[in-house]
């Protein structure tokens, strides 16, 4: 990295010791610089509702975005067992869909990049359907996942808007699928208004997802709809060549040599954009909940 001081052995040793002895950071493996560390015991930590683009009227917002609502802070309070709580605090970020098949919701953190190099996205997450029935409900949540929305700087060569998407397809039409998928296929880009400055596309449309090779994984769903277990996810991406470099969930490290992000021509207002999203999707007429206990985003600079 151009501006990064050389990492010497003493710094590496100190960083490692300090992070391992800090209970809040010890469960993460951040790169040299922590860009953000959110545990949701200090509020929403900059994770807001993904609102769709519009011009002149809100009616111009695509339906995919219009359905989104604000994320909330939850103790995972259940009707039968009370508050479940997070990994080590009472609160988690909760992303809830509406109760209709295919409904989605997205929370987003919007930053800008300082350096074009490796970044790491780590989180502890879990998902459940709303416990409206005394049933397991393990095929009610269609998917949950995360995506980045990235664009290089205004002086870079050959800049594209790049959007890596990864989801855990839990179920579809009542079938328990349980596999990781990525999406590189583009949705239609529509212009908004008459100034030629704003456009919109619903990149989470349900079609166009591809299987990650050997991406099947059975997660700990537990045995009723109100018991949850926190899963660790880690996704590495290199902002220099805009490629994914590694993906892990719990004990499994996946081969992502076939992973491709969406690539779109650079847009007029998005220079150095560094956005991160979590999303949830229900397969049935029941709310799907994605809970995020904590997120650590770090970079090698």
């Amino acid at each position: 990295m151009l501006n990064a001081p050389p990492t010497d052995d003493l710094e590496a040793t100190l960083l490692r010791a300090m992070r391992l002895s800090n209970p809040e950071l010890s469960r993460f493996e951040p790169l040299r610089r922590i860009i953000s560390h959110d545990d949701f015991s200090r509020g929403h930590c900059g994770w807001s509702q993904l609102v769709g683009n519009y011009e002149d009227t809100l009616d111009s917002m695509l339906p995919g975005y219009a359905q989104h609502t604000s994320a909330m802070l939850s103790t995972l309070g259940h009707w039968d067992a009370g508050s479940h709580g997070g990994v080590d605090s009472s609160y988690a970020l909760k992303i809830a869909t509406r109760p209709r098949p295919g409904a989605q919701n997205v929370a987003i953190k919007r930053l800008a990049m300082r350096e074009r190099g490796p970044i790491r996205f780590e989180a502890y997450v879990t998902f459940k359907p709303e416990a409206t029935e005394l049933k397991l409900g393990d095929t009610d949540v269609r998917s949950f996942g995360f995506l980045f929305d990235l664009q290089g700087g205004d002086r870079d060569h050959g800049v594209e808007r790049v959007m890596p998407h990864m989801r855990f397809l839990n179920a579809g039409n009542g079938k328990h699928v349980q596999k990781w998928q990525f999406k590189s296929q583009l949705s239609e880009m529509r212009k908004l208004g008459d100034t030629d400055k704003t456009a919109t596309h619903y990149h989470l449309a349900p079609d166009g997802w591809e299987d990650l090779p050997n991406g099947d994984q059975r997660l700990c769903y537990n045995e009723i709809a109100t018991k949850v277990n926190w899963n660790y996810i880690r996704f590495d991406f290199d902002l220099a060549d805009m490629r994914a470099t590694s993906f892990r969930c719990n004990d499994r490290e996946f081969d992502i040599s076939g992973f491709e992000p969406m690539r779109i021509p650079a847009m007029k207002n998005l220079w150095c954009m560094l956005n991160f999203c979590f999303f949830a999707e229900t397969d049935v007429a029941k709310r799907a909940f994605l809970y995020v206990d904590s997120v650590c985003i770090s970079g090698d600079f």
Binding site: R42, G43, H44, Q49, V51, L58, D59, M61, A66, T69, S70, M72, L73, S74, T75, G77, H78, W79, Y91, K94, A96, R98, E130, A131, T132
Partner: protein, 111 residues
């Protein structure tokens, strides 16, 4: 540390007819809430009362006691101030036959 304070958008550009309610919102960390309703378009027909509801589980609802009258004009505002609500909040109303309104419902929470 400053106390937490969050604005949440519960409904944006939703057209309400018949039985209508916002999605459930969890706010157990907050001591007080102010909920605003703004009519984004000219409402149609008589605009009814709406009630704040609370819940033990986000699925079963009771009136909290606060009410507001849905705005009768475009860009009209209505407000309800709420305290002592436990965890779950929503706004519910019953639009009369033939009545409709397109709303922005915002919730302002403070620890």
């Amino acid at each position: 540390m400053l106390p937490e304070n969050i604005t949440a958008i519960l409904a944006r550009n939703e057209t309400w007819t018949g039985e209508a309610a916002t999605e459930p919102y969890e706010a157990g960390w907050a001591r007080e809430a102010v909920l605003f309703v703004r009519a984004l378009k000219t409402p149609v027909g008589r605009q009814p009362e709406a009630v704040i509801e609370i819940s033990p589980d986000g699925m079963r609802w009771l009136p909290e006691g606060s009410t507001l009258t849905m705005p009768a004009e475009k860009d009209g505002l209505a407000v309800a101030r709420i305290t002592h609500f436990g965890n779950w909040l929503r706004l519910r109303t019953q639009m009369p036959d033939g009545a409709a309104t397109t709303v922005l419902v915002t919730l302002h929470l403070k620890a």
